[in-house]
Amino acid sequence: MIELERFSDPDLSRHSLEAVLEAAEKFKAANGRSPVFMEVCGSHTMALAKTGIKARLKDHVRLIAGPGCPVCVTDQKSIDAMIALSKGPDRILCTFGDMMRVPGSKFTLMKAKTEGEDIRVVYSPLDSVKMAEENPEKEVIFLGIGFETTIPILALAIREAEKKNLQNFSIWMTTKLVEPVLRTLLDAGEVKLDGFLLPGHVAIVSGKRSFDFLSKEYNMPGVISGFEPVQLLSGMYKLLQLLLEKKVDILNDYTYLVKDEGNLVAQKMLDDYLEPYDEVWRGMSTIPGSGLVLKEKYASFDAKKKFNVSVGEPRKTKCRCGEIIKGTITPEECMLFAKGCTPTHPIGPCMVSTEGTCAAHYQYMRED
């Protein structure tokens, strides 16, 4: 579809960048400082870095990466527990690719795999349901990590497992929700923000309306944005315009994918199978109602109930991922960044994940 390709057009991107720079200058003239925006989604962080937009805007718009990388926001003890799950008889552990190299206190899933544990990377959680069907003598466990875009698919996997009456399938639910963590960050007030670039794909599920609380309760503007260069810049421009016009609103700049009400089928799937849970977040301890777990009637598919995994307190390192995901420091402010912590030798998940802030800065923003 031609229109969609135009959102990555280089000439249009450059033209859009000029517009953003102009608007940012107007903001600076009116306020005596650069605007400060948080991009919530890890994929936005990576796209802003990869396209060069973040580097180009360095002295004009301060962009702070938020808690939108599912693996990065998972606390270390949970990471250690998921890795420990791989060490068990007659098991197949299935996971999204990101988890394979995340450092545990003792080892990684990748190391466990090279030592002979049956760990498989899948593109879809439903692939792991199929594996359970094809391997009735093994316990198949899927590591359910993700935000609102992914969680309905975890619920769908449970639905499929239930339909097939599988006794050997379960999910280790470690899910996170966007609204509670944004509330927590804003309530803490550690990072002063002018507005948000809001996650386009989460919004597909939760709807534009799910972000209205930012403007209504926190007086904070936001723009739901896509991921191509022109979309990132258009979103930023519209956010700047709101500020220049002193308007507080939530705008949907991704209208061809995001509806006001979101995806009602996905939302019903969440309601049918899951309930809120007080999840622990890296660097933020427990946030009430910030995750979703399986309802009691689906306990037989809940890996946390099925398997007894105990891990000790995590190994202490100098990793500062917990501060990175809150936006209180940048990767460059971590003493390990690009020295003791690199993509080939990561100390924390932010350097490993495809949505990790440190990975984005290392790959696309280092000045050698």
Partner: protein, 65 residues
């Protein structure tokens, strides 16, 4: 979307074909474009909105100069 069967469909992703779930897009039709995530179509691309967004943005940029 190339072929639709019950709750999954054959789609073309930049020349490669694969089956994806369609439970979240019950109104999807042949030739629709959909957004994929972890093996599921999560929403249908609204072509009119895509055209409108692009036109509106280009006009905004042109009006500035």
């Amino acid at each position: 979307m190339i072929k639709i069967e019950d709750d999954h469909a054959l789609v073309d992703v930049m020349g490669s074909r694969m089956y994806v779930g369609t439970i979240f897009v019950p109104d999807a039709k042949i030739d629709d474009y959909v957004l994929l995530h972890a093996g599921q179509a999560m929403t249908i691309v609204d072509e009119e909105y895509a055209k409108e967004s692009m036109t509106e943005w280009r006009n905004l940029l042109d009006d500035r100069t």
